[in-house]
Symmetry: C2
Subunit: 232 residues, 2 copies
């Protein structure tokens, strides 16, 4: 049996690339996608297409109603900011931040890892383009890894022998968006299947003006590649 991994899959560019990394390493991939009250469904549709195109063993959608808290433009009734420049995008914690999102997503992935017998969790976390998010930093990821191994029976046994039962893998953490795109294309990711826009039209066409669209377009430009995004 090949080793098993849980992949946090959002339908965006980064997590699709993380899945491609895991597949290239020979993992049997169980993709976990969160339906957390996003404003639109295109991310979820994109995630499923990406999982199928990269031959994932499972695609699981987990409902998680983070709207119950409020507090983010991605889940609450707050306008998504538009046409911000690079400085504005990279400074501070954006209004689109969802409280403790990576912590919650990784925790649920850990539960699924226990049930599926997975030894790895892959997350498309990136510390370069999202410097404003504390939960995208390597210190956070390493601390979470320690915590999850202390909180599971398999982890406690493994720690005694100096290893981990569950590794948290973030292959994109130090890559620029251009590097992510170049590696993804090499690994066979079809980026036309991914969805990045925070504020698409009713057919899924991207706005081209939100932070996510801006970062994506700049990444393809820097990689010297054509962005297959369909705009409104």
């Amino acid at each position: 049996m090949p080793p098993t991994a849980i992949i946090l899959l959002s339908g965006g560019l980064d997590s699709a690339t993380a899945l491609a990394f895991a597949r290239a390493e020979g993992f049997r991939c169980h993709c976990l996608c969160f339906d957390y009250g996003q404003r639109h469904r295109f991310e979820l549709i994109a995630a499923q297409r990406v999982a199928e195109s990269l031959h994932a063993a499972e695609f699981l959608t987990f409902k998680l109603d983070l709207r119950a808290f409020g507090g983010s433009a991605l889940t609450a009734d707050i306008d998504v900011p538009k046409n911000r420049d690079e400085h504005e995008i990279s400074s501070g914690i954006p209004i689109t931040y969802v409280p403790a999102r990576n912590l919650v997503f990784l925790s649920i992935a850990s539960g699924l890892a226990e049930v599926r017998g997975a030894t790895c969790i892959f997350a498309g976390v990136n510390a370069v383009d999202y410097s404003g998010y504390p939960d995208c930093r390597p210190e956070f990821i390493r601390s979470f890894e320690q915590t999850v191994n202390l909180g599971t029976k398999a982890g406690v046994d493994a720690l005694k022998s100096g290893s981990h039962a569950i590794d948290i893998r973030t292959p994109l953490i130090d890559l620029s968006k251009a590097e992510i795109i170049r590696r993804g294309v090499q690994l066979g990711v079809d980026y036309s299947l991914t969805h990045s826009c925070y504020d698409p039209d009713s057919t899924g066409g991207a706005c081209g003006a939100c932070d996510s669209c801006k970062i994506r377009a700049a990444g393809f430009k820097a990689a010297g590649m054509k962005d297959p995004t369909r705009y409104r």
Copy 2:
């Protein structure tokens, strides 16, 4: 304004007592209760009654469908074990274990703490009666605390000055069930409002035979107090 705390409230005896500790320390208490596909609703009803009786500022039910994973007698279609002796109850990880439950619950509580501006999370975790659960040990709790403070902006700022933005408080962690009950009675907990049984009848009457009923009954006996539990 009094300091604000998030309380993980299940409707059982331990978390009710944790709420009473937080109230006694003067916290404004936001109670977070999980609707995670339990077999019955009596826990949720009990949690709300407990929150009201101890004058919580908020009672929030968060839906979390852990049944999507399977793997536990509390959420999947597996029989709850009955009439086990003390040795059987305390040895190994029980079938009623829900994968990564405390990790997931604490993570979601951390998100709510960020949104509500809480500086503490109280959890009725207990390492004495649940020695089989790795995620009830102090090492796990301290590691989680470190992780959550590394994963939030307020936490990162506080760590720089050697403190925490969010403390994880487990006032029951070293107490026996009898000590928990004695302290709870002193603090005004009405244990007739709490619900412990894993397998109640259709009116909420306790079975008296599952591990949870056995531990509860032994606790009241050791405390020299009358158990107000209503049996079938």
